[in-house]
Symmetry: C2
Subunit: 435 residues, 2 copies
């Protein structure tokens, strides 16, 4: 299958953030065959004998790499709007945990599919997902065609080192769409004994660890009390959990020493601005991270804590909250945010093959409608996307060379009504069981 | 013209925030004839002889009052994305002011129409607008059918007391859609002599004053230095500018004494969370305002400072930033935010006839598509709207009984392409003149 997108503006993000005014993108199978100006020698030699299966007139709209939602819990969609405006403790203990205890793999599969629909409407072509049942998540991602880097969420109460090992062996074979990475929930939910066994697994696999870290001040203080004054970064580093790198979610409350560890161990940090605001966790030091050259991605967090799976909201918040934090309206430029949301995010979660539009890269891309009031005038397309862009501007989402969303219609192997109905069944059953 | 919306969920906001599961809304001319359950005596007596011109099957979707964008500068749309990520001083003096000096009324008319298109896509049925040329704004609002409460933006450099008086006399006659209120830009742009003359006008008209106030800490400090230690609220109150009430925009940095004045003078406060974040101005004390019973509305501010004219973003930010400020995830409940955005906002800017769906109220309403992944499951429709809602969920926007936006199409007396082209002409001409 080959698709030619012509008559459009192209933002490749391959080198800088320049928008090519008259460009084309051509896909072949799951990859990009060409992305660049609609002229020149390379273009001519490709277009000469090209027989695409479909040609799409972009009508001057923008084609660009898809967004990477670098931290989420897709399977929590059934919990949306069920537990907001609550203290964090009440939220977790009274609402979330009792309901999660009643979840089946099938429930998680359906909620994950619902979240994937939302990702597609928001131009998200890749996710980094952590939830209870990796088999169910992998199945949902494969069937709907979502690129999904999964990680374990091991803690004292669910999953196990053996299970992590099993998923790592089974879920990393045979698919270019889904993969599984070693992961734990967080320091505060894992015993030292458990963490030491995870450290052994990390060294056995020579693999980076994915985890929540330093999301709240309370968590950092608690860790220091539990572990002789060490912060979560310091403590886990002492246990040699970062010896093959790490991908950490949140990183809101970090010290100078934490930053030293992040740089020393080449750790990627995933920002979750909306969730951190809504749960009153704080604002991450984005300017500082950028200054130190830390690899950054952006995530929505799960639909129970955000509650929206919308990268446009996250992009705006990434810069707007940084500006508030630094008391400086010039902090964190839009182009840096857009890079984080697309290419930086891909590299942060370990899918560099999806970081930009260039020959040989995966065909994970989106088309943005510029012919909308919020995208006019076209003074600066990048800033339009970051500051006034909206999921309503997403015309098309392609993953691995397959168009999964186009003009409001989904191509995900099932009808939306079926997915909505199944998630409602989960909600109704659990509400009934809880009483 | 009578339109019947049937087979839907209805949120009237007339009494509390309960959603009627099976309801109808019937409009007659510019007003609501019925809004309530599809049963009962009142409903039966109305439906019996009803011959609507059009019947719209809501298919289970939600109908509710439109959002009120209580502070904006619509005519600044030509500046979108032209001056972001800059210090406030550079933004104003190097980018905004030189360009505004070159604006014509015709330019403002076209940019205002572009902004109105964006309002419609976001379910906004009423705006409170302040910009340079009230005649051009009124014309744009009348032609496109937008409900527009305008106010003066008098300062030392533009407009005059005589002009305010003239607009007040001319632009408050003969239209139920547009009106003009007395207004100044802000304390820091007005001489005391000018403010005293405005105070006379306020007393002559016995009318409330609309103005920016206490947006930044710098502004408040400057006022205290200029005026014997008085805050902007204290100083303007001393000049008797609030004797007939006021509608103030921003109100980010307020003291206990300021709050006393706000309550004493029955002043409405309009929050602008996105703009205040993006320009690093701060976070308004929303929890405190609510506790004190202050009448609150929400605004986007103008497209050069936000840059998005999207009430969904503002609603999320109103509560999320309050949660951050108070370090409390339970601060400012979603239902309070939704009320501010619709009914509270209408009362705040002085159009109480548009505050809810009830017999005799103006037919300013929207239809929200619940059949979208971000609105599923329907655990709590109110929280869905505030936390995961998006302009992509707006199916229909009606103002004054006329449908102005439906399924992505506009009914505003002109074609989108023409409006985009005219705004581009403004941009190109001014860029050329500036060189």
């Amino acid at each position: 299958m080959s698709i030619r997108f012509y008559n459009g503006k192209v933002l490749t993000l391959a080198e800088g953030t320049t928008v090519i005014d008259r460009g084309e993108v051509i896909t072949e199978g799951d990859s990009i065959l060409y992305a660049g100006p609609a002229e020149g020698q390379e273009y001519s030699s490709i277009i000469k004998d090209l027989k695409p299966d479909r040609e799409i007139d972009l009508k001057g709209n923008l084609i660009m790499p898809g967004f990477k939602n670098c931290h989420t819990h897709s399977g929590m969609a059934f919990l949306r709007s069920m537990a907001d405006d609550m203290k964090l403790d009440d939220w977790l203990n009274k609402q979330i945990f009792p309901r999660e205890a009643l979840l089946s793999g099938e429930d998680i599969y359906h909620s994950t599919r619902l979240s994937i629909m939302e990702y597609l409407t928001s131009g998200i072509t890749g996710i980094c997902d952590m939830y209870l049942d990796p088999d169910a998540i992998a199945r949902a991602a494969e069937e709907t065609g979502m690129r999904c880097v999964q990680c374990g969420g091991l803690n004292n109460f669910s999953q196990s080192v053996d299970k992590l090992n099993d998923w790592y062996e089974r879920l990393n074979t045979g698919s270019s769409l889904t993969s599984f990475r070693l992961g734990i929930h967080a320091e505060y939910t894992c015993s030292e004994e458990l963490l030491k066994r995870v450290s052994e697994l990390v060294h056995e696999k020579k693999a980076p660890l994915y985890l929540h870290i330093s999301e709240t001040e309370f968590e950092v203080q608690g860790c220091r009390e539990r572990h002789e004054g060490l912060s979560p970064f310091e403590y886990l580093n002492k246990l040699k959990l970062f010896d093959y790198g790490a991908v950490v979610f949140h990183g809101v409350h970090v010290s100078d020493e934490d930053l030293r560890i992040i740089k020393d161990k080449d750790i990627s940090v995933v920002l979750n601005p909306a969730s951190n605001a809504k749960l009153a966790s704080g604002i991450a030091p984005v300017s500082r991270y950028l200054k130190e050259g830390v690899r950054l991605g952006i995530g929505t967090d799960g639909p129970a804590s955000n509650n929206c799976l919308d990268m446009f909201r996250e992009m705006f918040l990434t810069t707007a909250l940084a500006k508030l934090r630094e008391n400086d309206a010039s902090a964190v430029d839009a182009s840096e945010v857009l890079s984080m949301a697309c290419s930086g995010g891909a590299r942060a979660i370990g899918i560099p093959e999806c970081d930009c539009l260039a020959k040989g890269k995966k065909a994970d891309l989106i088309v943005i409608d510029l012919d909308s009031p919020n995208m006019q005038p076209l003074n600066n397309i990048l800033k339009n996307i970051v500051y006034s862009g909206s999921k309503s501007n997403v015309k098309l989402t392609m993953i691995n060379g397959v168009i999964r969303y186009e003009d409001g219609r989904f191509n995900i192997g099932d009808e939306p009504e079926n997915i909505y109905r199944e998630v409602k069944k989960t909600v109704d059953r659990i509400n009934k069981e809880i009483g």
